[in-house]
């Protein structure tokens, strides 16, 4: 019964249906928690971020527009925002743990082989793979690892302006490749 689309399941979640809610959380908890942990780097804080994400997804369900993106992308966007708020609220965060290293020499797209299991992620990963390496690394650092351009600059030993330029170019190039149209 629960082999339904993400969008249909989200509709049930938004309506307050308890069974749909349980399946929705079960379906997305590893992705939400994984991104939260990558950014805040502290399991207890990542749990709080992940919980808050699911609460906000319910509270702001009406703002989801499937014409502008998938449920997964929307939910992970909320996760990133909540996680960044958490990091900024603390002013600093611990050094990255080994498994979540934002070291720019490491390709986080290979973590856990999870991408292979997710069709939506495969497509985006392929497009990101076509970006010039420095642009892709900068984009990954500020999105998946929640780093500021200043942090990336210090870690990579390059000017902050260069990091910003790489991120801008990467984002625009991806948009062109994805064929995203202006709403």
């Amino acid at each position: 019964m629960w082999e339904v689309s993400d969008e249909a399941l989200f509709a049930g979640y938004a309506s307050g249906d308890p069974e749909a809610a349980a399946h929705f959380v079960d379906r997305f908890q590893r992705r939400v928690y994984g991104l939260a942990l990558a950014i805040v780097r502290v399991p207890v804080d990542a749990e709080e971020v992940a919980q808050e994400t699911f609460v906000r997804a319910w509270r702001f369900a009406a703002s989801f527009d499937e014409r502008r993106g998938s449920v997964a992308a929307w939910l992970l966007g909320i996760t990133r925002n909540v996680a960044l708020d958490s990091v900024r609220g603390r002013g600093r965060r611990p050094e990255p743990v080994a498994q979540a290293s934002p070291d720019l020499a490491v390709d986080p797209l290979d973590v856990g082989g999870a991408i292979e299991r997710r069709a939506d992620a495969r497509r985006v990963a392929e497009l990101m793979g076509s970006l010039p390496e420095p642009q892709r690394q900068a984009l990954v650092a500020v999105t998946l690892w929640g780093m500021t351009t200043r942090e990336v600059s210090e870690m990579a030993g390059i000017p902050q302006g260069t990091v910003k330029t790489r991120v801008r170019l990467a984002l625009r190039k991806l948009r062109d490749e994805m064929g995203v149209r202006l709403p």
Binding site: G16, P18, A22, V25, D26, Q29, R30, Y33, G34, L35, L37, A38, V44, A46, E47, E48, A50, Q51, F54, V55, W58, R59, R68, G69, S70, A72, A73, L76, G77, T79, N81, L84, R90, A100, P108, G112, A114, R118, D120, A121, V124, M128, L139, V140, V142, T143, L144, T148, T149, K164, V167, L171, R172, L174, R175, M178, V180, R181, L182, P183
Partner: protein, 246 residues
């Protein structure tokens, strides 16, 4: 940066806006422009959509056991609070057979005026033995902790005092909790949390062990914003808590 932005300037900054990389005045100026410019809003929205797509490639990780139950319990509370209706019975009763019963319902973000005390006949018993001071969760008790600013009793659902919670000044300010006998009554393989709820309803949780009776954790907010300090089990049930007057 001074004065209003032109569209060409905003276009240059659009990726930074979409990724939330701007702060302070830059962000304020950008938002002021976006408020009155639908074209630039659309540009930023499309880039933000791309950034969200990138997040699909984020690594997965397995949260602590019981995460789904805790999320669903919190959702139930939020829904109940926002509809001004009583919390649903589902998920608010603990299975019988536990050695001790918690003092009241699951923890959540409630306003101070809405904190209910559901006395459920807690049998939490304070041990007579002296408190054993153990290593702190994040702060060492003998490291020159700041002055005591406020102290409140940790009580069960039937009002039995089982310990104390103390807010201390310093940099950072801390919350220290003493629950004598805690290590005698809880199973050693269980998960427990120290929850600190602030006046604005936000809450931080710190994992605590079952082999100690005292913990102290740093605050991430001014000391006078602490509203409630609670000890929760892995399912989010409150075992005892202390409230600090506003």
């Amino acid at each position: 940066m001074t004065g209003p932005l032109r569209c060409s300037q905003l276009r240059d900054m659009a990726p930074d806006v979409a990724l939330g990389l701007l702060t302070g005045e830059e962000r304020a100026v950008a938002l002021a422009h976006l408020e009155g410019c639908a074209t630039c809003r659309a540009e930023v929205a499309s880039l933000a959509g791309v950034a969200d797509e990138v997040l699909l490639t984020a690594p997965e990780a397995t949260p602590l056991e019981g995460f789904d139950r805790r999320v669903l319990a919190r959702l139930a509370e939020v829904r109940a609070a926002e509809t001004q209706a009583p919390a649903p019975g589902r998920g608010t009763e603990r299975a019988e057979g536990a050695r001790f019963r918690p003092r009241h319902g699951r923890a959540g973000r409630r306003g101070r005026h809405d904190r209910r005390r559901l006395a459920v006949g807690a049998t939490f018993a304070a041990a007579a033995a002296a408190v054993v001071l153990v290593a702190a969760v994040l702060v060492n008790r003998d490291d020159g902790s700041g002055p005591t600013l406020a102290t409140a009793e940790m009580t069960t659902g039937v009002g039995e005092v089982v310990g104390t919670a103390t807010v201390r000044g310093g940099d950072p300010a801390t919350v220290a909790v003493d629950v004598p006998g805690w290590d005698d009554i809880v199973p050693t393989d269980a998960t427990y949390w120290l929850a600190i709820e602030l006046e604005d309803g936000s809450r931080t949780m710190t994992h605590i062990g079952t082999d100690a009776t005292w913990w102290e954790v740093p605050l991430r907010a001014p000391a006078d914003e602490v509203a409630t300090v609670s000890v929760l089990d892995g399912e989010g049930w409150v075992w005892c808590s202390a409230e600090f007057p506003a």
